[in-house]
Amino acid sequence: MTTVSMTVNGKEVSADVEDRTLLVDYIRENLKLTGTHVGCDTSQCGACVVHVDGKAVKACTMLAAQAAGSEVVTIEGLANGGDLHPVQAAFHEHHGLQCGFCTPGMIMTAVDMIERAKASGQKLDEATIRSELEGNICRCTGYHNIVRAIEAAAG
């Protein structure tokens, strides 16, 4: 067991975990933040996407120990109190979900995508959004409204 400490959603956290503990298990089991989902557990589906030091990563394919000392943001860290993050609001407005299982990962990927596009001055058109969503799978195949929501949030 090793003490792994990091900042999650702005709060310093620490837990004694085995070195083989995945970041997603640390988040769900130790911190009880269950918004981050485990879908495939094989790096394909993106339900577990969180931000580590400002970058979207698959929390099922990273050890908690690798994230020690990092700043992590999960889906629970996006809203400001009762005010939804603009991307969350856009998913709500455009009904960018069906069963909702993939939604946390979709939103974390979308936030990262929009921030990178803004930083590089790139316009997020439909083709780019669909290509950027390559690592996020919606098994309800609700992609159409997800893309609409991201287009709306990107402005």
Partner: protein, 265 residues
């Protein structure tokens, strides 16, 4: 995943020492292949030595006509480096199409090269660019480095610290991704430089990445997509599986080569 012990190294020397003193030590960079492999219990290192935080092994440097990329540089960082795109668009485009955005934020060039997956993209670029792979104790040419499927010239405990190559006059990469896995079913990197034309193929060969002498010769005298349209691709050398048989892959190699030459201009 079996139990393992995690270590974080702050220098290449420390990483080599840590791995060397373990029963069965393994370097981990982005872990985008290693962690899934460990979850399947196909790998069970006693110790993991994390090299992702070694600053001296990160970054893209272009100095005149020489490019050096730190082994712990992520695919996203390679794809987004404007100084690299300005001199070698082929490798920038290649890096920007590995896996998906989240994988590109973690996966590293050194990890990809050390693993030498037969469908990985970077080995084709390094072989076509005539790159050098620099380790903690020597420099290995790409021609000598990739020795077969998942096999390289690396010794036990040897750590790749950087990759370097000379800027080509022209380069491009074209791949046909498997529609489900998105791994290359055939990927062809073409490069034209001071040492002539080099063509490297990934994804299709049954023994991993390889150079295609016939296409290199044809393009050496006639740099055009037509020059490789009828290239002889040996079906006996091709992978054959449920995703595509050898004849299909041989044809893909020709088509990807044509597209790469056309894209290089």
């Amino acid at each position: 995943m079996y139990e393992t012990k995690y270590h974080r190294a702050s220098s290449a020397d420390e990483a080599v020492k840590l791995a060397g003193s373990a029963d069965d030590g393994q370097f981990i960079a982005g872990g985008q292949t290693l962690i899934p492999t460990m979850k399947q219990r196909l790998a069970s290192p006693s110790d993991l030595v994390d090299i992702r935080n070694i600053d001296a092994m990160k970054g893209v440097n272009v100095d005149g006509n020489k490019v050096t990329i730190g082994a712990a540089t992520t695919h996203a960082e390679v794809a987004d480096a404007p100084q690299l795109r300005a001199v070698c668009q082929g490798i920038s485009d290649l890096a920007g199409h590995i896996g998906d955005p989240a994988v590109r934020h973690m996966g590293t060039i050194g990890g990809s090269v050390a693993n030498n997956d037969p469908a990985a993209d970077y080995p084709a670029a390094l072989l076509a660019l005539g790159a050098e792979i620099i380790t903690n104790n020597r420099t290995i040419s790409a021609d000598d480095f990739f020795t077969g499927m998942f096999e390289t010239a690396l010794e036990d405990g040897e750590l790749i610290t950087s990759i370097s190559f000379t800027v080509p006059d022209k380069s491009a990469y074209s791949k046909f991704p498997n529609p489900a896995s998105r791994y290359a079913m055939a990927g062809v990197f073409v490069a034209k430089g001071g040492d002539g034309v080099r063509v490297a193929v990934t994804g299709a060969g049954s023994d991993g990445v390889f150079r295609h002498a016939g296409m290199e010769e044809a393009l050496g005298s006639n740099w055009s997509a037509d020059a490789v349209a009828d290239a002889d691709v040996d079906e006996a050398m091709m992978l054959s599986d449920i995703h595509g048989n050898a004849a299909y892959r041989a044809n893909l190699v020709r088509v990807m080569a044509k597209r790469a030459v056309a894209a290089a201009g």
